[in-house]
Symmetry: none
Subunit: 220 residues, 4 copies
DNA sequence: CATGAATGAGCTTTCATTCAT
DNA sequence: TATGAATGAAAGCTCATTCAT
């Protein structure tokens, strides 16, 4: 929400022309995603955005907060995407397939966000990190856990499993899929395991992952 | 092997008293694990090790090579640990439990190595990273894939799955378990999902993960 | 020319107030001249110029390029001074006297440039040094050689000498005069030979050197 | 003399086996000549000499004194060479030719000494530099001045010249010849002027230089 | 005596951040 | 508001010198 982010940027940023604001965010996102926090320089972002360093500091208190904002932005988008899938009343298997396809598509389309997310998980503790993990993961956790719990009641999923833990395992699977699509290291790892370029493996991924999940959850 | 690492440190380092060498490595490992490559300063490592900057450069060509050495060290240890589990002729479920317990124990005992590994997955490509991912992952990949393939033949695992891909999914599960034990972000995430501190969740993890895998692989 | 130097400094340097730019160059010239390249520290130059280290790096890519710029500057000035003397249609003896007096004056007024030039002759080869020697010396070489050749035709100089080699010897004489005025070692050496402080020896130098050259070239 | 140098090295150096002592001096001379004082590292000298850093410091108080010793050594050799020529009772022209040929030969055979000498003239003032110039130049100065004075009396050289100043000019010519043979910058300069490689120009040099000096001094 | 590991001051260079224009 | 020059702390790294073995 805007209010939650309000401390992350200054009022001036809000008043910027849409185009300019987007441009700055796009450049910053790419830079942070490609080079990591420490290796990204404010000067570079300014240059590539066609603005001055001074301006960046007029919009954001400092580098850390710009990074935070960028990250939150990306995660909100991802969150949004997931939330749109949630309410559907479909068969759980079909829903799973939708999620997988959506995540794959998102990771391909906006790999910077996934890279950013991945790099986030590595950063040392900082004021804002804790809060972030809280917020980001909480949404997915709750959706998955509830979905599983409900499915247990409807008999779609067996009852001898811990919904929360299985939600956690489920999200692990999804997270790794995303990383495998967007992050160099995980990309290479995917190739080492499967012998396929992740770019051309959508169907393999969907099919096998569903097979895996279906059995794991004992979907009917 | 020593020969593979021989270019990473200088002869002087080898001749150091055991205690001192270990101390330096321990400090450096912690620093890199906690702060990442860029935020770790050689001066800090020197101070905390009780030696001088000059000495570090007598032992290692530069910061990058020290980091590389530290990382290789850790990964060798992990590799070793895994390889020791591999040859056993036991029931696949028992083997899986052993692996899980071993990884949990390792991650608790040497969280720095896991953190380091995790941070590695984020770093931009560097000369040595590619080679590393190749080596580290390849070992696990081959072990898991073969184990699954064999289990398919013995009927322990169903035949309709792609062994390589399932090996990949299996390792995803294991990787995330390790991260969840050792890395702050993933730790928090585990808590958000399960409501339990990962430190006290060994039995939950083992039980549920086995349940999950057993079903997924359709273990008999 | 400006274009030739344009790669040596950054645009920011050009925009500096005249006074500040001059100050920085003066300080840097003195430091390099007095201490040589290696013993000159950027921090010292910054302090003595009343600016920050960071600023120096805003003006010049690095120490080497600052040095190069300083040297080129000085050599251009010297070159300029010599070129102004060349075109005159005067008697060759008068011209020689003018050159000697000009070089003495220049060496007294801007000893740093001569010291710098002298120190240059010692430095190990570097990318730019070769080019420089080529350029600096080539101008003088060509002027002197042609002047001698012409004087041979007009009968002012005897015909049995190799113009190029005599030009070389002539420049040797001039070079040493300059060094003797500006560089500590050569200054001392002048005193040892003549018993006079070079500072007060203008007339002696002019008179005797002309005597020497006149006879050597057999000027009429 | 040994006594004059006695403060430059420690007693231990004297007791070294001839071969070892020579080896160290040879290596040090080359290093200093090729890289200059600042760019020569004690460690390199030690390594190339096959001894330890510690040993060097057992022989010489510090880098500066080692350098000083090396330089004095070289200059003594040069001095020696010149002194051997002095006492001859020959025709002054023949003597001049001998000197030129000797200097050329020496510069070719031991270019390191000349390079070292050249680099000396550049160094900023230091305790020992003044003394050196005093000693080195004084010998040549006195020999040349006296020779000229005597030649004036015998009528070999015209009487209207200042013997000391002409001795100075004479030595200038000789000095530049040596530099031109041994030092990169001056080598290149020679080529620019004459179009010949200095290595193959002995006869040109001797012939033209004598022509020059003969006329300059009005040798009969 | 010889060794070479240890030291730490000092160097060049970068970059987040400030602030006068 | 926008700019970008100025700042200076802090980093990686080198090397003359010392000293325990």
């Amino acid at each position: 929400m805007a209010t939650e982010n309000s401390q992350l940027y200054k009022a001036t940023f809000e008043n910027l022309p849409e185009e300019k604001r987007k441009r700055i965010l796009r450049v910053a996102t790419e830079e942070f995603a490609d080079n990591g926090f420490e290796n990204t320089s404010i000067l570079q972002i300014a240059k590539k955005s066609g603005i001055s360093v001074g301006s960046i500091y007029k919009y954001f208190e400092n580098k850390e907060l710009l990074f935070t904002y960028i990250v939150r932005e990306g995660l909100s988008t991802l969150e949004q995407t997931l939330l749109e899938l949630a309410p559907s009343e479909e068969d759980i298997l079909i829903k799973a397939e939708k999620i997988i396809r959506t995540l794959l598509a998102f990771s391909k389309e906006k790999p910077e966000f996934i890279k950013l997310y991945c790099s986030l998980t590595t950063r040392g503790n900082s004021e804002f990190l804790d809060g972030l993990s809280q917020r980001i993961e909480a949404v997915a956790a709750s959706i998955y856990t509830q979905t599983i719990a409900i499915a247990q009641e409807t008999g779609e999923v067996r009852k001898d499993v811990n919904p929360a833990f299985f939600a956690y395992l489920l999200d692990n699977v999804f997270m790794m899929l995303q990383f495998s699509v967007a992050c160099p290291y995980y990309k290479e790892r995917f190739y080492i395991y499967t012998g396929n370029q992740v770019e051309n493996s959508d169907e393999l991924i969907v099919e096998q992952t569903l097979l895996f999940l279906k059995a794991a959850f004992n979907f009917k």
